[in-house]
């Protein structure tokens, strides 16, 4: 009989055992207890602008289809024919009226209903099509973010996101009055455990060390903006494993401080926009182009990270796929969106000036953490001066590991099977 690892022995309030990155049994437990019993982000509303649009993606290791049916409703369904299990769609995205299994031709509607079975008389009345739709998951949406869950008993998405919602709303101000749309993505893998990446999203401490080369490549004004480790930013625990790291407090609310001087690197864009837009709107657009001053980490797989979505997908215990999804203004000025793309390319992705160095650091954590046994990973930075806000949120300085501690608290809740259920409320 297999003996499962005991998660309670692996994670403490201020440290974790190094084996959390490399124990395959623990990984299997995570794929079940975390990725099948929480809300997992699958798409942004703009990925499915019209009826008939679909994308294929994954929830943990399960291939799924996200579709918008004729009535405009979004469905998330397992990408698995009910007959013999073949995937029914291998396109990354597209527009369709139905999904037809390539093996025996079973055809499913956009809502997953089984519509057609070739040569059905061969079942001599023993196949009731209404019993064999694609398996549908629970789907809910908040401010354009579409999440799904295998677990029909967990709390509502609204309750799960809870105190993160005002931050999501702030993040979406990057539309500068237009809706947010996705504009392509950088996708890459690194040879390491998914939690190494999860931790990184609220790790300001690494920025001036790992990203020296990025900082070398920008002007001094931008260098000052990114010089936040000893600044007045903070990290705050938002509950349910979620956290926010505010690096640049001036850029939390993009609708504020519009009178602030336009940074030099945006002046040319501002001059161009001034030909078509009034001054206040130019300022609003330019501020939006620069992105938000915070990273919002939504446990377990999404981050609203300054100016893009970071999506992680565990592939194996020591292999993780990361997507950096570019976003822009849907209907906004083309020039501004192009500048966003260039900024994204500059830092993000496998050939950016930032991501490869992050990836190197994560790779090194994975390899180094295999050394020895029973040696802790430290999670205690900023604990000594961590305090509580009136609403109960724990917070500490910007370089604190408060966000990681928040994630591991939820990890432990999930892994020990004590997922907070709807009936328990918050």
């Amino acid at each position: 009989m297999d003996i499962l690892p005991d998660p309670t022995t692996l994670v403490n309030e201020d440290s974790a055992d190094g084996s959390i990155y490399s124990n395959p049994d623990l990984f299997d437990m995570e794929m079940d207890r975390i990725f099948m019993h929480n809300w997992i982000w699958v798409a942004h509303r703009s990925d499915l602008p019209e009826s008939g649009n679909y994308i294929t993606t994954f929830i943990g290791q399960h291939p799924v289809i996200v579709s918008r049916d004729r009535k405009g409703e979004v469905h998330v369904m397992l990408n698995r024919c009910r007959h013999r299990g073949a995937t029914v769609c291998e396109h990354k995205k597209g527009k369709a009226a139905s999904f037809v299994c390539p093996y025996h031709g079973w055809a499913y509607g956009l809502d997953g209903a089984l519509r057609g079975v070739p040569f059905q008389e061969g079942y001599t009345g023993q196949l009731d099509k209404s019993n064999y739709p694609l398996i549908s998951l629970r789907v809910e949406e908040y401010n354009g973010l579409i999440f799904a869950s295998f677990d029909h008993d967990i709390m509502s998405l609204d309750a799960w996101l809870g105190r993160t919602k005002p931050w999501i709303d702030l993040f979406m101000k990057q539309g500068a009055g237009w809706p947010i749309k996705t504009m392509g993505e950088h996708k890459f893998t690194f040879p390491g455990n998914w939690k190494i990446q999860l931790e990184n999203t609220t790790d300001a401490y690494h920025f001036p060390i790992v990203h020296k080369s990025f900082l070398d490549s920008v002007d001094s004004e931008t260098q000052n903006t990114f010089d936040f480790v000893e600044g007045n930013g903070y990290v705050e625990d938002l509950g349910h494993g979620h956290s926010v790291m505010v690096m640049i407090p001036d850029l939390v609310d993009l609708d504020e401080n519009l009178e602030a001087p336009i940074p030099e690197r945006f002046q040319e864009l501002a001059d161009e926009l001034a030909k078509d837009y009034p001054d206040e709107q130019v300022r609003r657009i330019v501020r939006a182009v620069g992105g938000s001053g915070f990273n919002l980490n939504l446990f377990p797989n999404l981050a609203c990270s300054m100016a893009f979505f970071r999506v992680l997908r565990p592939l194996a215990v020591m292999e993780t796929e990361i997507r950096h999804v570019a976003i822009g203004m849907d209907g906004g000025p083309e020039l501004a969106n192009e500048m966003r793309l260039r900024l994204h390319e500059h830092f993000q992705g496998p050939m950016g000036f930032g991501t490869p160095d992050d990836s190197e650091a994560w790779d090194r954590v994975q390899r180094g953490s295999l050394a020895g046994r029973d040696i802790s990973i430290l999670l205690n930075r900023g604990l000594g001066h961590e305090a509580q806000r009136e609403d109960g949120n724990l917070f500490s300085d910007v370089s604190a590991e408060t966000g990681m501690r928040a994630a591991y608290r939820q990890w432990l809740v999930d892994m020990t099977g004590k997922t907070v259920r709807a009936e328990n409320g918050e």
Binding site: E185, F190, S217, E334, L341, E345, M351, P356, S359
Partner: protein
């Protein structure tokens, strides 16, 4: 006289050799001032400025990329990966006295920290003749796996 296939191959082979041997500063001089080095994601697009790319480098960004490779301050490039690239299957798509467009296949092997990785690509060059010398005006590296997940590429494809 139109630019010949041999002239064009000589030029891009020089570029490939420089990149594999770390002659990055010299590499910069192979481009025209308005030259673009682009590694697109979308296999069909020609409108690179309107779409997300892995790299979309004008002269300023190329210089920064070279600085990053040489500075020793980027942990993923300290030292940069070693690479060996082979180009073949050359085809001149069009050519005249001032410019030409050449397409070829490129197979690149990367070695870094004990790991070998491979990237295949179709590469299209637009070369222009200025003052009797061929320069690269556009290099488009269309990776076979551009829409798949890559790994960190801290070097120049």
């Amino acid at each position: 006289m139109s630019i010949t296939l041999n002239e064009a191959i000589e030029m891009i082979t020089l570029e490939a050799d420089m990149l594999d041997h770390g002659d990055f500063k010299e590499w910069l001089s192979l481009y025209t001032p308005n030259g673009i080095y682009v590694v697109p994601i979308d296999p069909d697009t020609e409108e690179f400025e309107k779409t997300l790319n892995y790299a979309y480098d004008n002269a300023e960004m190329r210089e920064k990329r070279v600085e990053r490779l040489l500075s020793g301050r980027a942990i993923s490039a300290a030292p940069p990966a070693k690479t060996v690239r082979l180009q073949a299957r050359y085809r001149m798509l069009e050519s005249n006295a001032e410019s030409c467009t050449l397409r070829c296949a490129q197979m690149l092997t990367e070695l870094r920290q004990g790991r070998e990785r491979y990237y295949s690509a179709n590469v299209t060059f637009r070369l222009v003749r200025t003052d009797g010398v061929l320069k690269i005006d556009r290099k488009i590296v269309r990776l076979l796996t551009s829409t798949e997940a890559l790994t960190a590429v801290s070097y120049i494809l």
